[in-house]
């Protein structure tokens, strides 16, 4: 019983982290059909910028803010300089963003070195809640709260604001959206920056949890992709459900079948895609 509760809780908190990472990626996919291999780098660089902020005397909220803004700017620059010209060219997108991912990986190594670091978290977020025999680390509860908050904000943005309506219109039919006077390029840039920003937030939050280390970018990237494809590109609900599913499968896979853990994660994903090639909530 204790095992199941703990593992479910761990799975949900990891899923919450994945939602931060993949929510924005899903919008980027859905809106621009851009395959962004740099998304994992945003996560890694966000974590590193947060770390440097704390090293220079900043506090934890400031670290999140600094990481998010710095990476959003990098995302905007990358999008403006290269990606916006590559609409509809999947191969070009994959190779260009992969090039950036390699460059960022090496730059991070030059700037921050090869040692793993953990971002120190505020005292109020350390420790654990006790419920009977079971411990719930406060930091994991915090991650779930952040993800829930971000999900709510994204939902409000998409469903309740004018910009959100433009975004949904662009996801549904970019040509038609352009036809009725929506600035599709501007909207796309906002979404791309938003996705990069959320990935960076995930990176800083993860820094207090799994740490920041070289290689984290390519380690997390496939997870983000899998969440998006299982949930369905461009669907917020899909990203949420996909994140939880991947978080739980990953956690139980690692706990129950350590030798086959990636297999138990990716094989069910492939099976879902075999039945629904556009994901659970995706539209063709």
């Amino acid at each position: 019983m204790e095992f199941w509760v703990t593992q479910t809780f761990n799975g949900i908190s990891y899923g919450a982290l994945l939602f931060l990472l993949a929510g924005g990626l899903s919008l980027i996919f859905g809106m621009m059909r851009i395959v962004n291999m740099t998304h994992g780098s945003y996560y890694l660089l966000g974590g590193y910028v947060g770390l440097s902020t704390i090293w220079r005397g900043g506090n934890f909220p400031l670290a999140i803010l600094a990481g998010a803004l710095a990476i959003a700017l990098i995302g905007i620059a990358e999008w403006n300089a290269f990606l916006k010209r590559l609409g509809g060219q999947e191969l070009g997108q994959v190779l260009t963003t992969m090039g950036f991912a390699l460059i960022f990986q090496d730059l991070a190594l030059i700037i921050w070195g090869g040692d793993p670091y953990t971002i120190p978290v505020p005292a109020m977020l350390s420790g654990a809640y006790h419920v009977g025999e079971i411990y719930f680390p406060v930091y994991r509860v915090f991650i779930i709260a952040v993800a829930a908050f971000v999900a709510l904000l994204l939902w409000l943005l998409l469903e309740q604001t004018r910009v959100g309506a433009m975004m949904r219109a662009t996801v549904d039919d970019p040509e038609m959206a352009r036809g009725v006077g929506i600035n599709v390029h501007g909207i796309s840039m906002i979404v791309f920056a938003l996705g990069a920003l959320l990935a960076a937030v995930a990176g800083v939050v993860a820094g207090g949890f799994v740490g920041v280390y070289p290689g984290a970018d390519f380690e997390i990237l496939p997870y983000a992709f899998v969440v998006v494809i299982v949930g369905g590109m461009g669907s917020l609900k899909g990203a949420l459900i996909g994140s939880l599913l991947v978080g739980l499968l990953d956690n139980f896979g690692k706990a129950l079948f350590p030798e086959l853990s990636y297999f138990t994660l990716f094989a069910p994903m492939a099976a879902i895609l075999a039945l629904r090639p556009t994901g659970l909530y995706g539209r063709a």
Partner: protein
């Protein structure tokens, strides 16, 4: 005149190239010889990917999986059971074919971005097994000390020159078969599907089956290259089938020129040489490789050979547009 010159070149250049490859070893340092050997093996993977990426128009993000299956077949069979080339080669290729046949069923339900993503997830399944199934694959440590095959020839393949000829033979066989495939009616049908799937379907072709067979063939040849790679390197690890390797093969094809077969082989050679030579001079080779990715797409989106017209210029189907009408009026 120009067409005649081109056709002479098309006949002469490949012969010269094969001749150069045959006589090269004595003129090369042992370092350069191993690089050419590596390039020949990666050229097979790149050419196999060209079948689905270049000729069929499907970008796969999981092609390293089949390469890895071939390599791990050798690693496991040769080190654990002392199996010879006569067993490892068919097993490696067969395993890659079978897995490609299963994955193809799933992946070919989608196209475009979705195809990319599904092949990525499928590639990760195989990578995950290599990474975590430690009792079978030794995980991240990889399988080392794979002996070179003994073919019963008077020359030991443990030495670099005989192994070079071994890899060259593998490359030439693969190239010859793949070239035969792409020039066959089957290969032409793949091109037709790339250009217009709906038109080919209307003409009565079984589009899905053609794509599927192309996908499986590509997987089989990648497995074949994996077998050679494991023997060349003496070592296999999850790095051989990780996502970055799959993307690197995509780069080789894009850099050399899609749907040219020899272009991807050239792209493979360029990337292998670049990676190894640059890393001699600097630790910052990832920066340079990253720049190559971006520059390829910015400056040579059609690849090196893609820019050259080998065949007489294709006649574009003419549609009567506004421009034609006005031009006609002015002309008349």
């Amino acid at each position: 005149m120009k067409v005649a010159l081109l056709s002479v070149m098309r006949a002469v250049v490949p012969v010269m190239f094969v001749f150069l490859l045959l006589v090269a070893p004595p003129f090369l340092s042992s370092f350069l010889l191993t690089l050419v050997t590596q390039a020949l093996i990666y050229a097979i993977v790149a050419m196999s990917l060209d079948i689905i990426l270049g000729y069929t128009g499907l970008a796969s993000l999981g092609h390293a999986a089949y390469f890895g299956l071939g390599a791990y077949s050798v690693g496991i069979l040769a080190t654990r059971y002392g199996a010879g080339f006569g067993i490892t080669l068919p097993t490696g290729v067969f395993l890659a074919l079978v897995v490609a046949a299963i994955f193809g069923l799933v992946a070919l339900r989608a196209t475009g971005v979705y195809f990319l993503m599904i092949t990525l997830a499928l590639g990760m399944v195989v990578w995950g097994l290599a990474h975590r199934w430690v009792t079978m694959t030794q995980g991240d440590n990889g399988i080392s000390a794979i002996p070179r095959p003994d073919l019963g020839l008077p020359w030991s393949l443990a030495r670099s020159i005989p192994f070079y000829y071994f890899a060259l033979a593998g490359f030439l066989i693969a190239f010859w078969i793949l070239r035969t495939i792409v020039r066959s009616p089957f290969g032409q049908t793949l091109v037709g599907i790339r250009e217009s799937e709906s038109r080919m379907r209307t003409l009565g072709y079984n589009v899905w089956l053609h794509k599927y067979i192309g996908f499986v063939i590509a997987g089989g040849f990648a497995g074949f290259a994996g077998v050679l790679w494991a023997y060349y390197n003496g070592f296999v690890s999850p790095v051989d089938l990780q996502l970055a390797t799959s993307v690197e093969v995509l780069l080789m094809v894009a850099l050399g020129g899609r749907a040219t077969l020899i272009g991807p082989a050239l792209g493979a050679a360029i990337i292998v040489f670049l990676k190894n030579l640059v890393s001699v001079y600097t630790h910052r080779w990832l920066l340079i490789l990253g720049a190559v990715y971006i520059l390829t797409i910015v400056y040579a989106p059609e690849g090196i050979l893609g820019g050259i017209k080998w065949r007489p210029k294709k006649v574009k189907p003419k549609t009567l547009g506004v421009k034609d009408l006005t031009e006609g009026e002015i002309g008349g």
